[in-house]
């Protein structure tokens, strides 16, 4: 067997479920991928596709009543799920940091911005003095494009875009190896959205961290990611380098997503939507999860769930249409 080169992050067969009162919901099923230093991974999927659960799993923070059923998450060769309480705390914030969706409520309203930094830095590096932590916060503020004086403000004194910049600065404060941005711009308007995303990319170049960009908007990640995972009903349905995904979109769901992106270069165009709605995860369809909405539906789709077929270098697709290719 050939020794695989070690990735920064390797996720193998990750499965997470929520035990709701009415039954079990498998939010993430058998997800495997890897992430290297300085790489950007886009995770695309609609609401309920399990993308946020996947993100939270990486810092072992799937909210109750959810839990990780099986799988391994190796960060620099260490299984994140097997870490003790203290090590897990150290992991969160220092090695993997998280930028949440809603910047409006992600900051403690009763504390000044600088206190957020002091607390975060001193939680992980108790030896750092308060003054040093504030100096570091000022430098981070410059990096994310806010006047350093604003660290004395309270969260309500900042706009949504500024708060998200603060969240990003907080995420970078301890120089993590991975930053997970879970829909970082969903709550912001389009102009601010582009600025924040470009900021994230430029900071990634400077700090050299890996970035996991979780979004429902394929257009956001297409140009900004190295590779993309498309999720549907908790499963990876297509995984490919961004350029490949754009030029050789294979899964019908990914094709649908791509067709629903408006193109400003075309005079007139019809945007196509994907008909139907995502499956009820309490009663998932038998066979392929996407068949009720698929336009290429075949008999086998309703009986057997397709495995991930390898259709090219680093290109995986979960669809019976590609059954001729080698199974990955």
């Amino acid at each position: 067997m050939i020794q695989k080169p070690q990735h920064l992050l390797t996720v193998e067969g990750l499965t997470a479920e929520y035990c709701a009162q009415r039954g079990r919901i498998i939010a993430v099923e058998d997800v495997s991928f890897s992430l290297d230093k300085g790489e950007t991974l886009g995770v695309v999927g609609e609401s309920g596709s399990g993308k946020s659960t996947l993100g939270l799993s990486l810092i072992h923070l799937v909210p109750y009543p959810g839990r990780i059923v099986k799988g391994t998450i190796l960060l620099e060769g260490q299984n994140v799920l097997k870490l003790g309480k203290e090590k897990t705390r150290d992991l969160r914030g220092r090695r993997i940091s998280y930028v949440f969706q809603d910047p409006m409520t992600s900051l403690n309203p009763v504390e000044r911005i600088k206190d957020h930094f002091v607390e975060l830095i001193r939680t992980h590096e108790p030896k750092v003095t308060k003054a040093d932590a504030i100096t570091r916060a000022r430098k981070l503020f410059k990096d994310v494009g806010i006047q350093p004086e604003r660290i004395d403000d309270y969260p309500h004194q900042l706009s949504g875009g500024m708060r998200q910049r603060v969240m990003i600065a907080l995420a970078l404060a301890l120089d993590p190896s991975i930053v997970i941005a879970d829909e970082p711009t969903t709550a912001l308007d389009v102009i601010v959205q582009a600025k924040i995303l470009d900021l994230l990319k430029s900071l990634q170049n400077r700090y050299g961290m890996a970035l996991m960009l979780i979004t429902h908007d394929l257009s956001i990640v297409l140009e900004r990611s190295d590779k993309i995972i498309v999720m549907y009903a908790g499963r990876i349905v297509e995984q490919a380098p961004s350029s490949t995904l754009y030029t050789h979109t294979q899964h019908p769901y990914s094709q649908g997503l791509l067709k629903s992106i408006p193109n400003i270069e075309l005079e007139e165009q019809k945007l196509t939507a994907i008909g139907g709605s995502p499956p009820d995860l309490l009663h998932p369809p038998i066979g392929c999860q996407f068949w009720p909405r698929c336009q290429y539906i075949m008999e086998i789709c309703k009986i057997k769930e397709p495995p991930l077929f390898k259709t090219g270098i680093d290109h995986l697709v979960r669809c019976h249409l590609y059954a001729g290719e080698t199974s990955g």
Binding site: L61, R89, R92, G93, R94, S97, T105, T123, L170
Partner: protein, 294 residues
């Protein structure tokens, strides 16, 4: 009481506070009026030795049961004690008891509420059950029972009132924490590796303080009434100390004979003090709740 310079600086701070409160509409007026009433009564009690025209405990200051007159503006009681002096100095015990009970209540109810709702699970269930069973008792009856067991005295009165009101703190804190626990900033703090006690003390507690203050003012008003009730039935402190509650007991028997002044004036003072705190509490909760609901 402090010297004139501190009094002046207190006054100079109080006036802008009151005017800024008045600008906040009805709730602000409630707080301002309540605050003035409470401060006035507390100041009167503190300054009682200088304000009262007679020794409130001295008997036969004048003819017994004389109606309000120019010499005794609020009349005298059965023992010829001056009612004006007794009204001026009679709040001391009650205010001490109320203050102490609020402190004890807070020290008990707030940490228990935080712990219970933050940890959840079995501990939460058990604590809820205990608190609800205390809550189910009529407050005064329970306070009487506890005061009977503990005996007389300021601390014992405060303790018996405190036990009754711990569940109010517990309930309010618990429900507040349950909603704050779900806020994104708490999740964000967890995601940055914050410790459990840091989250409790820096993220949750500061955000429930407004509710604690509101409960405390209402608690204060209730404690005054309960303290009056305890003294009324003779579970208060020694009869030598002038007390509104004691005067109410004495006055009750006299009311049927047409002697209304012995019971009326101490009664009005109890009502005013409780009303002052209630107004403050209502105003504060009115002012803070819209923000809490966001």
């Amino acid at each position: 009481m402090g010297d004139s310079s501190t009094k002046k600086s207190m006054l100079s701070r109080l006036v802008p506070l009151l005017t800024s409160l008045a600008r906040r509409g009805l709730a602000g007026w409630f707080i301002a009026i309540g605050l003035i009433m409470v401060i006035a009564i507390v100041a009167m009690t503190l300054l009682a030795p200088w304000l009262s025209p007679h020794n409130p405990s001295a008997i036969e200051t004048g003819p017994p049961l004389s109606p309000p007159s120019s010499q005794f503006p609020l009349g005298t009681n059965k023992m010829g004690q001056d009612m004006l002096s007794r009204v001026i100095s009679g709040g001391g015990i009650m205010i001490q008891v109320a203050l102490l009970s609020v402190v004890i209540c807070m020290a008990g109810g707030v940490p228990i509420g935080l712990l219970s709702s933050y940890s959840g699970g079995t501990l939460d269930r058990i604590l809820c059950l205990i608190m609800d069973s205390i809550y189910a008792f009529p407050g005064l009856v329970l306070a009487i029972a506890i005061a009977l067991m503990l005996g007389r005295g300021v601390v014992n009165m405060a303790l018996s009132i405190a036990v009754v009101y711990v569940p109010s703190y517990f309930r309010v804190i618990r429900s507040q924490v349950l909603s704050i626990k779900e806020m994104a900033y708490v999740e964000a703090a967890t995601a940055t590796g914050a410790k459990g006690h840091t989250i409790l003390s820096r993220y949750i507690l500061p955000n429930v303080i407004p509710s604690i203050v509101v409960v405390a003012t209402v608690n204060f008003a209730d404690a005054i009434l309960t303290a009056a009730g305890l003294t009324f039935i003779g579970l208060g402190v020694s009869v030598d100390i002038p007390d509104w509650g004691y005067d109410l007991t004495v006055g009750r028997g006299l009311l049927t004979t047409g002697v209304w002044w012995v019971i009326a004036f101490p009664g009005i003072m109890v009502v005013l003090l409780a009303l002052g705190f209630t107004l403050m509490g209502e105003g504060l909760s009115e002012l803070w709740n819209p923000r809490l609901e966001q």
